[in-house]
């Protein structure tokens, strides 16, 4: 078996990556492969620590935090032996802004100074003029190549968490030669792919496996603990557990909830908080949810501790605020369970003991876990407030459409943070954010968020985000229920695989001890 080889790491992946183009990709599946085959300026460490050197061996931040200079190592190489240079990064970012590709995470590139005007200008321009104007306008975008080894990045605003952004796959470099020769699509087909990470793709069999081998030109190859990494694609999470128990994989993620209690006895079981929140949206544009008192009453009537205990086996932490715990951010108790006050609020809103309250409908996408939680919420609201609640499940794409059209009353949702900063959770509720989908439109909130982006003093910025979250919880367009946890099975022979809140695991840090014990 592949897993018997101590230089070969095998992990289960829940789906095919949609693409190997870092500028196009947008999911965690893609990330699980991208972080093995590419390397950014900085890299995620194995734990929750700050980003560590990647292609950049060191960097400097200007005193005002708006200019970052990255010094690239001179031995960084692409998998074909070409050196990795500053222009590879600059072009990787510019091709997203130019619209050469449709970049899901273009918001990350927009942190660069003048990125937005450049992008918008080009989009408005007829195609013919674009080719003429691009060379004129590009130098104004905040990514300047000083020399092959030095990249100066100027940001639109000082951004405290920019290293976390620079670490993300959207900001990975691309091999310009391959793109010039084959075009943006073919250059990223597995057979043509030139990448710069510790590993490169040897073979990709759809819905089957991705075989990766060490990139012989990788600068830190001598220190890698592995020669090969294979991702086996197993969609069903129970089947992933079986693959782990059969020793076909060294690592699997997301075992089914109903198996967690049993699996927790396995020596390879790992669990930790994840950067995510499970919550309900309220459609604040329609009665009765347009009444703040109703929204707060519903939230107050929800005993999150009990919900977590009874329906989730206490595997998740009750959320009394929206932003989950992250390094430098402890969630506060902004909400409380107070059924008496909830009934008072509901009475104040004109529904004493729930009388006259229209029938509520909780919308969720078809899934057993969501159903169980919705039933618990339904029950608590019925008992505490005396209101009737119906459950409505819809197939995923239909549910998304219903939510976007604001054609719901209460809808289940979840959010996994993109980077380790409260902003990734709080920006969603700005009135103009495309992920808002609640109708929540609050000028004070928008202002707090805008101020937080401009603020350079970390403490003051943190306070602005805290204020924004407090306002959010007071206005209650969204009702947090619990914070996500992550669960993994990692074979005891695997070393260097640490739990981290980003849930990013680089094979670069991993090695295996030859004397592998059994799992059962």
């Amino acid at each position: 078996m592949l897993t018997d080889d101590p230089r070969h790491f095998v992990f289960a992946l829940s789906s095919d990556p949609e693409t190997f183009d870092p500028g196009v990709m947008s999911g965690s599946i893609e990330g699980k492969v991208a972080y093995q085959i590419y390397e950014g300026l900085v890299s995620p460490p194995s734990d929750d620590g700050p980003p560590v050197p990647g292609v950049a061996e060191r960097w400097e931040m200007s005193p005002d935090g708006s200019t970052w200079t990255f010094y690239l190592r001179d031995d960084a190489r692409w998998s074909n032996g070409d050196p990795v240079v500053a222009e590879d990064f600059r072009q990787a970012w510019l091709r997203q802004l130019r619209g050469d590709i449709a970049s899901d995470y273009i918001s990350f590139v927009r942190y660069l100074n003048n990125a937005r005007p450049f992008e918008q200008g080009l989009r408005m321009m007829p195609r013919f003029f674009r080719s003429v104007l691009v060379p004129v306008l590009e130098p104004h975008v905040g990514a300047r190549v000083i020399d092959d080894r030095t990249l100066e990045v100027t940001l639109q605003q000082p951004t405290a968490y920019f290293l976390d952004i620079a670490m993300f796959y959207t900001m990975f470099p691309v091999h310009r030669g391959t793109i010039a020769a084959l075009g943006d699509e073919d250059a990223f087909r597995p057979e043509n792919l030139v990448s710069n990470g510790p590993f490169r793709i040897e073979r990709f069999l759809r819905r089957n496996r991705i075989e990766m081998v060490q990139n012989e030109h990788y600068w830190d190859g001598d220190n890698l603990g592995l020669d090969a990494v294979t991702a086996i694609i197993i969609e069903d999470n129970a089947a992933r557990v079986t693959a782990y128990l059969d020793r076909r994989v060294d690592w699997m993620h997301e075992p089914p909830n109903d198996q967690l209690a049993i699996l927790s006895a396995d020596p390879g079981f790992r669990s930790a908080p994840q950067l995510g929140t499970y919550y309900y949206r309220f459609n604040v544009t329609q009665p009765p949810m347009d009444d703040l008192r109703v929204r707060r009453a519903l939230s107050m009537a929800l005993n999150r501790e009990e919900l977590c205990r009874c329906t989730l086996d206490d595997l998740y932490e009750a959320a009394w605020a929206f932003v989950p715990p992250l390094p430098g951010w402890e969630p506060r108790d902004l909400l409380r369970f107070d059924p008496g006050a909830a009934r008072d609020l509901l009475a104040e809103a004109g529904y004493p003991n729930g009388e006259g309250f229209p029938e509520l409908v909780i919308l969720y996408n078809t899934n057993e876990n969501h159903r169980v939680i919705a039933q618990a919420v339904q029950d608590m609201w019925r008992v505490e407030l005396g209101i009737e609640v119906q459950l409505l499940n819809q197939e995923w794409k239909v549910y998304l459409e219903t939510m976007e059209a604001l054609d719901y009353m209460v809808a289940r949702a979840g959010w996994i943070g993109d980077y380790v900063d409260a902003n990734t959770f709080l920006h969603l509720w700005r009135s103009f954010d495309e992920n808002n989908n609640t109708g929540f439109d609050n000028a004070d909130y928008d202002r707090l968020m805008a101020d937080s982006i401009r603020e350079t003093d970390p403490a003051a910025r943190l306070q602005l985000l805290r204020d924004a979250e407090a306002l959010l919880m007071q206005e209650m367009p969204v009702m947090p229920i619990y914070f996500y946890s992550q669960f993994h099975l990692v074979h005891p022979s695997v070393e260097g695989w640490d739990m981290n809140v980003r849930n990013v695991h680089l094979a670069r840090w991993i090695s295996k001890t030859p004397a592998a014990g059994g799992t059962q």
Binding site: D16, E18, T19, D21, V24, S26, G99, A102, S103, D104, I106, S107, E119, Q120, R123, E185, R189, L205, R206, R207, N208, I232, I233, I234, E235, D236, A239, T242, A243, D246, R248, E395, W396, K397, V398, L400, E401, E404, A413, G414, W415, E434, N435, N437
Partner: protein, 305 residues
């Protein structure tokens, strides 16, 4: 004969066209977009993608572009997988054919002898036993049988892997799960055919001429007894291939069915249509082949008249 084949060909094209057209518009009528995700796309990027896949055009125009591309042999791109549909289908079809083919081989190699034995030993313990087995085989859905086989032969005995595909040996359990229904059905059909044929005059004649029972069965009875099986082959093979959707999911086989189901959930329009084309072609071609084969086996049927 040539006229018949050409006629059938034209007919098939018309059928395919109707299937495609209906599928296209039904799919477009389904709510939801291939581009929607829980993390909403940037509006400008979404517009760019809509333009790229021509989703911003009226449905009729989209249909025109699609048919136009098809006529040039272009099945279009998979919106979700960011690869040509033809490439995805090309990579997946081999697995489905392997499992489907093996399931059919299994069904015929096991089903025909069982049916013959049953038919020749009518109303004996062997007959009752075999027909009970056949009844069970027909009744157990493959999505129940599959996990049962996994439980016994993969998890329990460790003879096979519980899923995935590393080589031909991984086709065995899926093929058995898929083929069980057809084995049982073929056994019942063969038995029925046999019972009917052995009562015919020409069999009595053969016996009267003093042929051994073996020769009577193999040379005279079998041909007639297999006619119902043959006419069932076309639809069976087609339904084995299209019916492998569930089995592919259960055994995590990277075949067409897996892509078909996911593509439907993802509203990956062109991939869904591409798989529908493949499935339709399989059905049409197989039915046609059976019609030809039927003529060979039964002298009373003259193809093309």
């Amino acid at each position: 004969m040539i006229r018949y084949v050409l006629g059938r060909f034209a007919q098939s094209l018309a059928v395919l066209f109707v299937i495609l057209t209906a599928s296209f518009f039904i799919m477009k009528a389904a709510p939801g977009s291939p581009l929607s995700e829980d993390r909403a796309l940037d509006p400008e990027v979404e517009a760019q993608l809509m333009e790229q896949y021509r989703l911003d055009q009226p449905v009729v125009a989209q249909y025109g572009y699609y048919i136009g591309g098809l006529l040039q042999g272009d099945l279009g791109p998979s919106i979700k997988q960011k690869a040509p549909v033809s490439e995805i289908i090309g990579g997946a079809i081999g697995y489905s054919l392997a499992i489907g083919g093996l399931a059919m081989v299994f069904a015929l190699l096991l089903g025909i002898p069982l049916g013959l034995i049953s038919g020749l030993k009518q109303n004996t313990a062997a007959d009752y036993g075999l027909m009970t087995f056949a009844m069970i085989g027909v009744s157990i859905p493959n999505f129940v049988l599959g996990p049962l086989l996994i439980l016994v032969f993969a998890t329990g005995l460790g003879w096979f892997k519980s899923g995935g595909w590393t080589g031909p040996q991984d086709a065995i359990l899926p093929a058995i799960s898929l083929g069980m229904f057809y084995t049982a059905y073929v056994a019942r059909l063969t038995r029925g055919g046999m019972l009917e044929v052995v009562r015919q005059d020409f069999i009595r004649t053969a016996r009267a001429k003093g042929l051994t029972e073996q020769l009577v069965v193999v040379r005279h009875a079998l041909r007639g007894a297999l006619l119902p099986v043959v006419s069932y082959l076309g639809p069976a093979f087609a339904s084995v291939l299209t019916g492998s959707i569930v089995i592919e999911k259960v055994f995590n086989v990277p075949g067409l069915g897996t892509f078909f189901v996911d593509a439907a959930f993802n509203r990956d329009y062109f991939l869904v249509l591409g798989v529908i084309i493949v499935y339709s072609l399989l059905l049409i071609v197989l039915n046609f082949l059976v019609d030809l084969l039927y003529g060979v086996l039964d002298p009373r049927v003259k193809v093309g008249e």
